[in-house]
């Protein structure tokens, strides 16, 4: 049975509060917080990027279970902020976890769902017997244009999921996707910041695709919201996942453990995967998890997941790596100037 062998997450320690960003642009923080349901977002340290975050998340995953890294046959890293346009983050990760050289690798881009696309690929490679383990990572140091609405939520973080068939801690019974060509949010080659269609990103983007993939999955599995212990949706803000959960018939309690966006912000490719990690952090054997990611452009990947006994067995040590809650604890708050410095928003003499 193909599933999650181990998982890990990484979130940088720095945070900036929504009211601090609002202060700089003369916006009303209450409106922003109220509208988005977000209070703060994570900020990378000056020497952190998508690759370093991906490596830390991967290393955290490998801390929880004894895996011979040379048995990892594939590494895929999904991100919108790969450090190189050409030269895969996946190679750096592969090297840093000692999985090289016998492995395949590539980087993925599909806005915020690049990481879950990697999960699907690994599932296929494992199920077909081509590889023993595949590592799927969603990691981002998201950029929001100064004073744009997205600046309040564009955050940094990542999660790594190791896929395999040997005694998974959670089985992925099924995955379905719903994909169209929808220009809700994009970034042209060479541009520093993304652009988006404003309210168009809602119904035609996020909701259409998540609802599409979710209904498709429920049709294929014959299961409905009541059959799941938990649900995790892509979290660009707190409102969208709460709304789509309601529309699909999930309760606020089901999405609660995975809803980390209020303090973390939107980690883009890391978003739903960190939500999944947070949910797995406290899941028990037998718990079932419904997950649907969303990536602009646009598409959604939905997953039917069931936690097994292995999660509490001797072979898996959840406490060997920090939980998402632990990663969110003890933040270091920065002001806008420090934030701008960390994010490279200040134009330096070249």
């Amino acid at each position: 049975m193909v599933g999650i062998i181990t998982y890990g997450a990484y979130i940088p320690r720095f945070r900036i509060k929504v009211e601090e960003i609002a202060r700089v642009w003369g916006a009303n923080p209450d409106d922003i917080r109220g509208g988005l349901g977000v209070h703060s977002k994570s900020v990378p340290d000056m020497d952190e990027d998508t690759a370093t975050i991906a490596v830390e998340a991967a290393r955290n995953a490998l801390r929880r279970r004894e895996i011979d890294p040379s048995e990892i046959g594939a590494v895929y890293v999904g991100s919108e902020s790969h450090p190189y346009a050409v030269k895969p983050t996946a190679c750096t990760v592969g090297e840093a976890i000692e999985a090289t050289p016998v492995m395949t690798a590539a980087d993925y881009e599909f806005a915020c769902k690049a990481g879950t696309a990697a999960i699907q690929t690994c599932m296929g490679l494992v199920a077909s017997g081509m590889i023993r383990y595949g590592l799927a990572i969603g990691s981002d140091v998201a950029q929001g244009a100064p004073s744009d609405a997205l600046e309040y939520t564009a955050a940094a973080g990542g999660a790594a999921i190791l896929i395999g068939a040997d005694d998974p801690v959670a089985i992925i019974h099924r995955t379905c996707s719903f994909t169209t060509d929808t220009p809700d949010f994009w970034r042209r080659e060479g541009q520093g910041y993304p652009r988006h269609g404003g309210r168009f990103t809602g119904e035609p983007g996020y909701f259409r695709h998540i609802e599409g993939a979710s209904r498709l999955l429920m049709e294929k599995t014959g299961k409905g919201p009541k059959d799941y212990t938990y649900a995790v949706f892509h979290q660009p803000n707190a409102k969208f996942p709460q709304r789509v959960a309601k529309v699909l018939g999930f309760s606020p309690n089901q999405i609660k453990p995975g809803l980390v966006v209020p303090v973390l912000g939107n980690t883009y490719s890391g978003s739903s995967m960190i939500g999944l990690a947070a949910t797995l952090d406290q899941a028990k054997p037998g718990d079932t998890i419904f997950m649907a990611s969303f990536g602009s452009g646009a598409g959604s990947d939905a997953f039917d997941i069931e936690v097994t006994d292995a999660i509490e067995s001797d072979t898996f040590s959840r406490s060997a790596a920090p939980s998402v809650a632990a990663l969110l604890e003890d933040p270091i708050y920065v002001d806008y100037a420090q934030y701008a410095r960390h994010k490279g928003k200040i134009v330096m003499q070249k």
């Binding site: 020497d47 990027d49 490596v55 000692e98």
Partner: protein, 132 residues
Amino acid sequence: MSSVARFWRKIPQRYNLVGTKCTTCGRYFFPPRSLCPDCRRAGKIQEYRFPGSGKVVTYTVIRTASEQFEQMTPYVLAIVQFDEGPRLTAQLVCRSDEVRIGMRVRPVFRRISADGESGVIHYGTKFVPDGQ
């Protein structure tokens, strides 16, 4: 323009703290040595990956740096001693008032520098205070 090959050659050391150990006398080496200075030809050398836990031996806070590191100042630089014995020079990710001689540290993967805006990015290992 810095050397692509020079950086690449040391990736196992920079990313994964790969050194060597002389199994004859039990001495550890980082960076790796293929000849034990004590046992010389009688020494059997094996690859050894340092987990990276250790302590701070001495430190400073760099406030004026070379061009490559200008944007990172101020940063903490220290000599760290691995539990196995070898020492190395490395940046610490911590506040300048947090660091103490004898402080326990563990390794993290960070961006060390880059060869300008279009050149290769150099990743490597820094250290953070290890609470436990």
